[in-house]
């Protein structure tokens, strides 16, 4: 059942890509969640769709575009979108979350226009929306590997700065941290991770991979460092299950990944409930 993944190149690609995405998406997600910005992932995934749709539209008119993967245009849009979100968050100050619906709806609006101009939906677009095991080409894999390496190195290097900034922006500023460009760098990373994950999880579900494993990790972690370990473990379980079952049962992997992430979350909540109940019992018995 598993060896088939090593027989076919495309399956091996999907597997490697899945392992990497299941690692970096939840780990970056830890910062997104504690900064209360989990919906940013949603906004950025939708703006990625805009880029992909524009590419598909342009490919109808200019042959040169069919030579390239639409995901690059998606990445460019995601990065631009993240810069806009950053800017809008400062403009609206107390209503920072407004940046998210603005970017999200602008992205979907444009995407819909591009898609209808490009003769509507096709199977290609379907795989972008829901992910596909067969979609990871060797070029895609290379891109995903490069992004994963960049993300892991930067997470390691800027861990303490991002930790400080997400806990207490004012104190971080006083200690001399350059908050602005650290935030900017973080947003760009999020945009890149989302664009990289879309091949496997799909646009509609990529944000789930950045937030659900983190929500589960919160039920287990006893320190901030442990959050990353648990989030990565839960991310791996979800993604690998999604790819295996997705392939063998011919289901869109994105859906299976998210269902597994939800199951893990429910089990984590249940575990915490049981622990609390037994603690209460111990207290009462004393």
């Amino acid at each position: 059942m598993i060896d088939v993944f090593f027989q076919y190149d495309f399956l091996r690609n999907a597997l490697i890509a899945g392992v990497l995405i299941g690692l970096i998406a939840p780990m970056l997600g830890v910062f997104l969640v504690v900064k209360r910005m989990s919906l940013v992932a949603d906004a950025l995934s939708h703006i990625t769709l805009t880029g992909i749709a524009l590419h598909l539209l342009l490919a109808n008119f200019f042959a040169i575009f069919s030579l390239y993967d639409p995901i690059y245009m998606g990445m460019v849009f995601a990065v631009i979108g993240s810069l806009f979100i950053n800017q809008l968050r400062t403009v609206y100050g107390h209503f920072k979350e407004l940046a998210i619906p603005i970017i999200l709806s602008a992205g979907v609006g444009l995407a819909v226009i591009f898609i209808s101009l490009a003769d509507g939906f096709n199977t290609d677009l379907y795989s972008y929306l829901f992910g596909s095991v067969a979609a990871v080409g060797s070029n895609d894999l290379m891109t995903i590997i490069i992004i994963a390496v960049i993300v892991l190195v930067l997470l390691f290097v800027f861990y303490k700065e991002w930790f400080f900034l997400s806990f207490d922006e004012e104190q971080a500023a006083i200690s001399g941290l350059k908050g602005k460009w650290l935030e900017l760098l973080f947003s760009i990373l999020v945009a890149l991770v989302i664009a990289a994950s879309i091949r496997i999880v799909g646009i509609l579900l990529v944000s789930a991979l950045m937030t659900l494993p983190v929500a589960s990790a919160m039920q287990w972690a006893k320190s901030f460092k442990q959050m990353f370990v648990y989030a990565a473990i839960f991310g791996q379980i979800s993604v690998l299950s999604g790819i295996f079952l997705g392939f063998h049962l011919d289901l869109a992997p994105g859906g299976v990944i998210v269902v597994f992430a939800v199951i893990i979350l429910l089990l984590s909540l249940l575990k915490n409930k049981i622990v609390k109940a037994s603690l209460n019992r111990n207290v009462q018995n004393r």
């Binding site: 930790f163 004012e170 320190s223 901030f224």
Partner: protein
């Protein structure tokens, strides 16, 4: 011969205004090394604004501000300055970090980019936690502590970089009277035993003046700057800056108990 205490904070003719109305006007203030200065003033007198100016978080429109003898825009040794802010619970109470991790943040600015915590740094964190008597809680999640305990942890975070000056903006707001008193005892100990210079902003004038060495009265500018004793014995000042009122409230609390 005793060395003359050096001036740590020097403010000259400082003016700061939001849009149209000046909050601080021609303000002069100097803080000597080793002093424990209480800053009092009515609501809207510009206490927090002055603190923010000193910390370089906002830029005054006019005037000069120096820290440790160098002008603020040239000053870059922020590890010498510790700060504990007004709202103890400004951070998300559910934040999944341990007390140890929170205190470590106090070292991040000093460590700088591309450098990591070493054993020596971890010892410093534990030492700071011992100073505030919170070392037993090092592995606890910060959100599980009481307001008073959290505020002690934040003091430890400010102390861990071994600052010379510690600035506290209304640190006892939302903390019960007993914890607040314990908190003031800790501040006095830091000032007397470790020679830490303290700048404390507080509404709780009655309690505070029992602990500080000096008092400065602020209302757009500094109207009085002298010893705590001079402040307490000056009837004009104490009535103007709410000393009597606070004092009476506290006496009542004592009686009620």
């Amino acid at each position: 011969m005793m060395a003359k205490a050096s001036t740590i904070v020097e403010v000259n003719n400082l003016t700061y205004q939001y849009t149209d109305r000046p909050v601080l006007q021609n303000l002069n203030l100097s803080i000597e090394e080793g002093s424990f200065l209480g800053l009092v003033g009515p609501n809207g007198s510009g206490k927090s604004t002055l603190i923010k100016c000193i910390l370089g978080l906002i830029k005054p429109q006019a005037g000069k501000l120096s820290l440790f003898g160098s002008e603020l825009h040239r000053f870059d040794d922020w590890s010498k300055v510790g700060y504990v802010s007004q709202r103890a619970n400004r951070f998300n109470a559910g934040f999944p970090a341990t007390v140890f991790e929170v205190v470590s943040m106090g070292l991040f600015g000093q460590l700088g980019l591309f450098r990591f915590m070493k054993r020596n740094d971890r010892n410093k964190v534990m030492q700071a936690l011992k100073t505030v008597e919170m070392d037993a809680y090092a592995k606890q999640p910060i959100g599980k502590l009481s307001g008073g305990q959290q505020q002690r942890v934040l003091i430890a975070r400010a102390l861990v970089s071994e600052p010379t000056l510690l600035i506290l903006d209304e640190p006892t707001v939302g903390i019960d009277a007993t914890s607040a008193r314990r908190f003031y005892d800790l501040l006095r100990k830091l000032n007397q035993d470790q020679g830490l210079t303290l700048l404390l902003v507080s509404h709780d004038v009655g309690t505070m003046t029992k602990y500080v060495t000096n008092v400065a009265c602020l209302n757009k500018s500094i109207h009085f700057h002298g010893t705590a004793h001079e402040f307490e014995t000056n009837p004009n000042l104490s009535s103007l800056y709410g000393y009597d009122v606070q004092h009476i409230i506290h006496e009542h609390e004592e009686i009620a108990k």
